[in-house]
């Protein structure tokens, strides 16, 4: 019985055929598997290379973050971590950085070396920064070329207008009489000639010491500046804007007042007064003579391009805050068409008095302080002269005033210490 035989005895050749197919399939699968494995490996290798490249960039970013933070420390001269100004470490977006700051032989320069690390990649960056002093407002008076103050009763000191009036703070006394604080320094990028008492420092230009005559006394140091103070001219754009938009004509006057709206020349004489409310005023020339006074009732900025003569009856800043009367002077050819002022036409005279609270920023203008009254605030001039025994009471609140202010940080160079290999 063939049928029964076939059902009871499996066909052996068919098994053999199935076996060979399985071997072929296995071989094919192995081949394809190997190929796939190779491709996957290649993909992974490529991925790893890209990851390394990314890590390198992130390490560089971390190093630069560290540099930025170190620069902040150097600029503010603070040391939150207690490890030295500019030296710090930290993390940023999963990366780590450490910065080491080294002071240069020149005290203005710092070298910052930052190391950033992300994964196994490291980058090292070196930056040299310069902390350039621009704190002209740190002095009661500062002459870009020279400072010459003297006369009987000449004295400088400081107070803080945020704490009250000068009178309320003048509780100290010495041979020169009552005074408030001892931060009323004087300075110059050039020479200093002093006859009087300075409650503060007297810092002349590099390599120079103050010439103390007639019993001149300095209670602070007389160390010369290591480098000249950076005193840039007030930007032309500021003057041009003030020339274009101002509150000229909105003032109140008494006495004789003549104003030319074309040349923006104002002259007040005959014992009159000029009262300015808060705002910006622009003049080619401003003259107060014959005992005329300048009265300020709000925050005022005055821009002058030719001659300023405020030596009449004095200045009365009723707000009592020097920051509320800011005078800027520079010989720009403004209003348009006006020739730039020559040296002799570029002067400012200021008379002191009990209400003379003001700041003057005129680093390219010769400024003369007339009379023996008090000046509350700060004056920056080219050649500054005060020979009438004036008293300068520097307002410490001016430290953060714009136009000068804190030291300026500049980068000298940047370099990649360990550039990654290609």
């Amino acid at each position: 019985m063939i049928v029964s035989t076939m059902s009871s005895r499996p066909d052996r050749s068919r098994y053999l055929q199935r076996g060979s197919a399985a071997v072929c399939a296995l071989l094919l699968a192995t081949m394809l598997g190997g190929l796939a494995f190779a491709l996957v490996q290649t993909g992974f290798a490529s991925g790893r290379w890209h990851a390394r490249a990314d890590d390198s960039l992130q390490a560089l970013e971390a190093a630069e973050t560290g540099i930025a933070r170190a620069e902040q420390e150097v600029q503010s001269q603070t040391d939150p971590g207690g490890d030295g100004v500019g030296t710090l470490s930290g993390t940023y977006a999963g990366s780590r950085f450490t910065v080491t700051a080294t002071a240069d032989a020149n005290p203005e320069y710092f070298r910052l070396v930052a190391r950033g690390q992300h994964g196994r990649s490291q980058r090292q960056v070196e930056v040299c920064v310069r902390l350039k002093p621009t704190a002209g407002w740190g002095y009661g008076v500062f002459g870009r070329s020279s400072t010459k103050i003297g006369g009987s009763g000449t004295m400088t000191d400081s107070y803080d207008s945020r704490l009250g009036t000068y009178a309320s703070q003048a509780v100290n006394s010495d041979a020169g009489g009552p005074y408030a604080r001892s931060s009323g320094g004087i300075g110059s990028n050039g020479t200093i000639q002093l006859q009087g008492l300075v409650h503060g420092n007297a810092n002349a230009g590099p390599g120079l010491t103050p010439n103390l005559t007639g019993g001149g006394v300095v209670t602070g140091n007389i160390t010369p500046l290591s480098v000249p103070m950076d005193l840039p001219a007030t930007p032309y754009a500021d003057f041009a804007a003030a020339n274009l938009i101002n509150q000229n004509g909105t003032w109140g006057t008494t006495g004789s007042a003549i104003y030319n709206p074309v040349t923006k020349n104002l002259a007040v004489s005959g014992g009159g007064s000029l009262t300015l409310s808060g705002g910006t005023y622009f003049f080619s020339s401003l003259s107060l003579s014959g005992g005329s006074i300048l009265k300020v009732t709000g925050p005022v900025k005055i821009y002058i391009t030719q001659v300023g003569s405020l030596g009449g009856g004095g200045i009365v800043n009723v707000t009592g805050l020097p920051a509320n009367l800011q005078i800027f002077q520079h010989p720009y050819a403004l209003p348009v068409g006006l020739a730039p002022a020559k040296k002799l036409m570029n002067t400012l005279s200021v008379a002191g008095g009990s209400g003379a609270a003001l700041t003057v920023y005129a680093p390219y203008t010769d400024v003369a302080v007339t009379g023996g009254g008090g000046i509350y605030g700060s004056i920056i001039a080219d050649n500054l002269q005060a020979q009438g025994g004036a008293q300068f009471h520097y307002d410490e609140a001016l430290g953060g005033l714009g136009g000068s202010g804190p030291p300026k940080l500049t980068r000298v160079y940047w370099r990649d210490v360990a550039q990654p290999k290609r």
């Binding site: 063939i2 035989t5 076939m6 066909d11 050749s13 190929l35 491709l39 290649t42 993909g43 490529s46 290379w49 890209h50 490249a53 390198s56 960039l57 020149n106 203005e108 320069y109 040299c128 310069r130 980068r411 000298v412 160079y413 940047w414 370099r415 990649d416 550039q419 990654p420 290609r422």
Partner: protein, 181 residues
């Protein structure tokens, strides 16, 4: 007694059909393999070109990052150059920057074989010594554009492995120059 079916051979018709089927199957598999292989090669080639391209751009960026902005030369009126020269800042002496030697990046031909592509590489020449900085760069594709403190570098990288149809990758990198006057 062996079953009749096991003893019986194949007819010519069966063998012909079987052979035809087998040949068709092999041909099908072969064509699938060939197209897969081509695709795989193309993918590999493109991937390789991308890798090389990024390597080139990174190397160029690292080279130029420390260059002094005011020391770039060789640019036309549109501030574009195909062979820019520059100097990197290496330090400072008494507050004055110390500059390294003049370096020039330029393209030069090489002996790569890639159909339809002018093959070459970018070299940086310093003191008359040329060093390869970017490999497999197509001729005429490299240019540098200076925009203020930013240097933009553009180039096309090819894959030298792909002999028939090399993969091409174009792109640019903008480098914020750190040393401004």
């Amino acid at each position: 007694m062996r079953p009749l079916a096991a003893q019986r051979g194949f007819t010519l018709f069966e063998i012909t059909i079987g052979f035809a089927l087998f040949t068709g199957l092999i041909a099908l598999l072969g064509s699938v393999y060939a197209s897969s292989d081509g695709l795989a090669r193309q993918c590999m080639s493109t991937m390789s070109a991308h890798e090389e391209h990024r390597r080139n751009l990174d190397a160029l960026a690292n080279l130029c990052r420390a260059a002094a902005t005011d020391k770039f030369t060789g640019f036309d009126v549109a501030n574009t150059s195909t062979a820019p020269s520059f100097q990197c800042v290496t330090g400072a002496n008494a507050g004055v920057r110390v500059l390294g030697p003049v370096q020039t990046i330029s393209w030069r031909a090489n002996k790569d074989k890639a159909t339809g592509v002018v093959t070459g590489e970018l070299v940086v020449t310093q003191n008359s010594v040329a060093t390869v900085i970017a490999r497999h760069v197509r001729g005429g594709s490299f240019r540098a554009t200076l925009m203020g403190n930013t240097l933009r570098l553009t180039l096309t990288t090819y894959d030298a492995v792909g002999d028939n149809k090399p993969a091409l990758v174009s792109g640019d990198v903008s480098v914020a120059l750190r040393n401004t006057p």
